[in-house]
Each structure stands twice: as C-alpha cells, then as structure tokens.
C-alpha cells in the first residue's frame, strides 16, 4: 500500500465540506435538514462535539442563517448549509451578512427547482448566488468546486476569503458533487486559533463599544457605506478570480461550464480527442468574481463558445456579457432529472460546428444518434 493513499479518505462531497470547515477552524455550525445536503449536517452533528464546537439543528433555515450571523458577529468562523428551497429562505440573512460585513461560509448543494423541484443535481441557483439573491446592492463571493477534493480545498479557502473581505462566501455545489464519494486528502494546515477581529462583539471590556449593523438611516450615510462596499467588490474582482483552462490553445470551440457540467465537458473533450475536433474548456472556479478577462481573450481566437449548464441558461448571460459580440455564444442545458451526458455535449458541439451534420461520422465511439441502449440487441 502506498503511503500517500493512506492519507486519502473516501468521502461524499458533503462530508468533505464539513471536514474541511473543521480543518479551517470553524467550530460553529448551524443547519436544517434538506436533501441533498444531509450528509453535511449529519457529519457536523458527529464531529462538532468531538472538536469542542457547536452543532445546532435550527428550527428553520431562517434561524440557521441568523445563528450563523450571531456567531460571525461574535467573531467566530461559522458555517451553514442547505439546498435550493432552504437557501431561498436564507436570502434575507445573507443580505444582512453582506450589509453588516460579516464573514460567513454558506454551502448550497443545488437541487432542481423552481418550488420544491426535485432532489437531482441542478445549477439553477446561479442567478440567486451570483447576482445577489437577497435585497440591496451586494455580492457573495461564489466558489464552484468540481470534485470532493476541490470542495475540501475551496471550503478551507472560503473561510480565509470571508475573513479577509468580511463578506459572505457561498460554495455552490450540486446534488451530484454533494452525494458522490471520491478520494479526499486534507492537505492544508489545521487552524485552531482565530484571527483577532477587533470589530467583533465580545463585550466592550476596556475598549469603546462595537456595533454590528446594516442600518444607515441618516441621510447620506447609506450611500457612503455603499460606495465603500462597492470599492471592496472591485478589489475582490481584481484579486480573486479563479478559473481553469483545458485545451484552449488553438481550440475552435470553447466550452464554458462549472462544477459537475465542467467534468462532463472534459469527458466530451477526451472522447473527441483524435477526431480532429479542437474543443477547449474554460471552467470558472469563482462564479463571482467571474473570469471575464480570460473569456475576452479566448473570444479573439475561438470560432464559438458553448455554455453547458444544468439550468435554462443562467451563467450563459455572464459569458455573453464578457465576450459581447466578438464571438457567438451557444448554450446547452438540462433542467432537472439528471446530469447531461458527454454525448449530448458532443452532439451540440457538432451542431454548432457543422449544422448540416457533415462532421458526425468523423467521431469514433460515439453513437450517431442520441438515446440510450443503442448497442443492445436481443437474440430471438
């Protein structure tokens, strides 16, 4: 047995998120059960008492986000998690966190919507996560992992980002990433000591009092505050953009996808290798701030973009805003019921490159028509 394999844990993405939070020094977790994030809350219920932390199952997602708000105001590293409907309930609190400039990590394991939707993987909460979600001019920092390992790494980073910018950070996963088991290695340094937060509520012993608030009723105060908030957002946009590029050099068509869809796109690229098709991928790792510059750069050379999402088309709007009319931006999406297949993605790519279908036969190992069971035949 290789020694490095001993350090690996086979974990669901949900468990990896919980464990990474503990590694990052989070000792206060508040949540409410909802599928598909239950492994996270269950894991926290076991682990928090073991590390001397607080686990509390709140009476609602509304209470959970405000318990997290309280913990954050008191200076602790705090986390909460949920999925679609529960995240919707948390939106007021997230707006308050942003308005009060409180650091907090929120995990959204996306499921299908609208309404109760279903519990299958989805990416339809993109707008909600990236464009605000709650009321007022604010941004969450939004991180989009694509594997259990990356969930662990990004959750750890999320706490640092939240503290550095005093801002809520949302980890946007999905049911696939949350429930899938993969090897995870916890490579980062465990944090036990919190950084001192001078603004936090600790009791005003020997100092002027601290107030945590987002209310600015005196004329002019709110705008001054908002200008400062926007400056902070510009700094985040300048400093914190993360993305991955695959095969983009010389690519005719650039796929743009995050999370689970990005992996499907990589599979499609692998299947197309040797066919002469030049397909690249840009995978945003931060959804806000969005990697606009790399997209603009790629738009100068590529023939077209194709955005692949498990939604009716949300991130595609940001891609179009980034590349403007320099390059056509196509879209392929699924809206519930499962993850798109690499075949579907390739079929879309072929349609974009050769609408009349002339390229279809050049790709080996890929069925010429969609649908499953193509190779199956019975002996009478």
């Amino acid at each position: 047995m290789k020694s490095s394999n001993n350090k690996k844990h086979l974990l669901t993405g949900n468990e990896a998120a919980a464990e990474a939070a503990i590694l990052a020094g989070c000792r206060h977790y508040y949540g409410y059960p909802i599928t598909p994030q239950n492994e996270l809350i269950n894991h926290m219920a076991i682990r928090m008492p073991q590390v001397g932390g607080t686990f509390l199952q709140a009476e609602s997602e509304i209470a959970a986000i405000y318990m997290a708000y309280g913990g954050a105001a008191a200076g602790a590293r705090v986390m909460t998690s949920s999925s679609g409907p529960g995240i919707s309930l948390m939106q007021e609190g997230i707006s308050y966190l942003a308005g009060s400039e409180l650091p907090c990590v929120i995990v959204n394991v996306q499921r299908g919507g609208p309404g109760l939707g279903d519990i299958s993987p989805s990416q339809a909460d993109y707008f909600q996560a990236v464009k605000g979600g709650g009321h007022g001019d604010y941004h969450n920092i939004v991180l989009a992992p694509a594997s259990a390992q990356e969930i662990a790494d990004l959750v750890y980073d999320a706490f640092d980002l939240a503290d550095r910018y005093r801002n809520p950070v949302m980890l946007l996963g999905d049911a696939q990433l949350g429930q899938m088991m993969e090897p995870v290695e916890f490579r980062k340094t465990p944090r036990t000591h919190q950084t001192v937060k001078r603004w936090a509520l600790t009791g005003a012993e020997g100092r002027a009092r601290n107030i945590v608030k987002s209310f600015y009723p005196v004329k002019g105060e709110l705008e001054t505050f908002n200008i400062r908030l926007q400056r902070k957002y510009r700094a985040i946009e300048h400093e914190e953009v993360r993305y991955e590029e695959v095969n983009t050099q010389g690519a005719e068509i650039i796929l743009v996808a995050y999370g689970t869809c990005a992996r499907i796109c990589k599979e499609a690229i692998r299947r197309a290798s040797g066919t002469g098709l030049q397909i690249g991928l840009l995978r945003p790792i931060t959804l806000w701030p969005f990697p606009k510059e790399p997209l603009r750069r790629l738009a100068k050379k590529a023939r077209a973009f194709c955005v692949v999402e498990m939604s009716a088309g949300q991130m595609v709007e940001d891609v179009r805003l980034a590349v403007l009319d320099r390059c056509p931006v196509h879209f392929y999406g699924r809206m519930g019921g499962g993850v798109p297949s690499s075949r579907e993605v390739l079929k879309k790519v072929l349609n974009i490159l050769a609408p009349e279908g002339t390229l279809e036969l050049e790709i080996p190992e890929i069925p010429t028509e969609l649908g499953k069971g193509l190779y199956f035949s019975t002996i009478p």
Binding site: N6, D118, I119, E182, I264
Partner: protein, 193 residues
C-alpha cells in the same frame, strides 16, 4: 485502465455497501475512483442504482453512460440495464431473482444464484459478496486483501460476527463462477483468501 460499473438492486441488497467497499479498496490501491447513487427518474420500481468508476487516469464525468460491467440483483433492475450496455459489457445477474432474462447478443452474461447461495450460508444479505466474488474472479479489479481489510473495518462492533459469512460468500461466488464459466481453465490467484 478505466472500469465503469453499474451496481443495481433493491435497497437492502447491499449494493451501496458493496460499491463503497470496492471504491475504498481500489482507492487504497492507488486508483482514482468515483461512486454515487443515482436517484430520480432513472430509478423507479424498486431498483437502487450506483455508478462506480475506477481508473488509473483522472475521472472526468462520474456518470456511467456505457458500463463495462453491470451487476444486477433483481428483476426490476435487470429491466433498467439496457440503458447502460455496450458490446463489450459484462453482465452479472443474480439469477435467483432475475428469472426472465433474454440472451443478449455480444453481451457476456454470468448468472449467479447469489440469493440462494447466501441463504444457504444463513445470511441473505451476503448475496452482494457472492456477486463480488464472482465479479472479481473474472475482472480482478480489486486486490482482495485490501477488499477484506475494508470489509473488516466496516463490520466492527456488533456487526463483527458477520465477517465470516461475508468472506465465505465471497469465496463461494468465486468458486461458482470458476466451476460454471471458467471450467478450471483460468484459475485466478486469490492467495490472500
């Protein structure tokens, strides 16, 4: 090397546990691995379906679109199989419960009466290990010592007495497939057992 496996059966037939053990053992063997339950419209009528991929390369899509191997434990799951087949697929059927299987051209099919065999051993739940024994004899994917190590660590405490029957079930699955399909010609080494 990439092996894409679909495990499919009733809840309670131990497909979740089997998949997790295979995933863990191959992970400890230094492989890349993804394992997840598939929910939703795909799985109706009493079949719980799991996607397991083991590879020496980075695994991109964790979704099995065409399976190298399907392990099917009951009739409803058999009916779902066709979705995942390709010409070189191997099909392992629990023939105790899958009674109405047609012969599929180009598909190598192994029929193992796993439920009956596990029943004879006194624990019907061990049918998953019978299938594992049969599967691994043909594919040799999982190093058995690692698999047994993982099995042992998952059967701790009051479940510890189950280790013996599970190990026996594994061996009997191996024996059965050798006797029925390999006819003594291709005996694979399983020295650890």
């Amino acid at each position: 090397m990439t092996e894409k496996i679909i495990l499919i059966g009733y809840g309670g037939q131990g497909m979740m546990l089997l998949g997790r053990l295979m995933a863990r053992a191959t992970m400890l063997d230094g492989k890349q691995v993804t394992f997840f339950p598939s929910y939703g419209t795909e799985v109706r009528g009493g079949a719980a379906c799991y996607h397991l991929i083991v590879s020496t390369e980075e695994i991109y899509s964790p979704v099995v679109e065409e399976a190298d191997t399907i392990i099917a434990m009951n009739q409803p799951s058999y009916l779902k199989l066709k979705n995942y087949l390709k010409p070189s697929s191997l099909l392992f059927l629990n023939s105790s419960l899958v009674k109405e299987a047609e012969s599929l051209r180009e598909i190598t099919t192994y029929r193992i009466p796993a439920t009956e065999m596990a029943n004879k051993l006194g624990n019907v739940v061990a049918s998953n290990m019978v299938m594992m024994g049969a599967y691994n004899t043909i594919k040799n994917l999982v190093p058995l010592p690692l698999f047994l190590e993982c099995l042992q660590s998952s059967l701790r405490g009051r479940k510890a007495p189950l280790l013996e029957v599970n190990t026996l079930a594994l061996l009997q699955g191996e024996e059965y497939v050798k006797k029925t399909y390999l006819k003594g010609e291709r005996i694979l080494k399983t020295s650890a057992v």
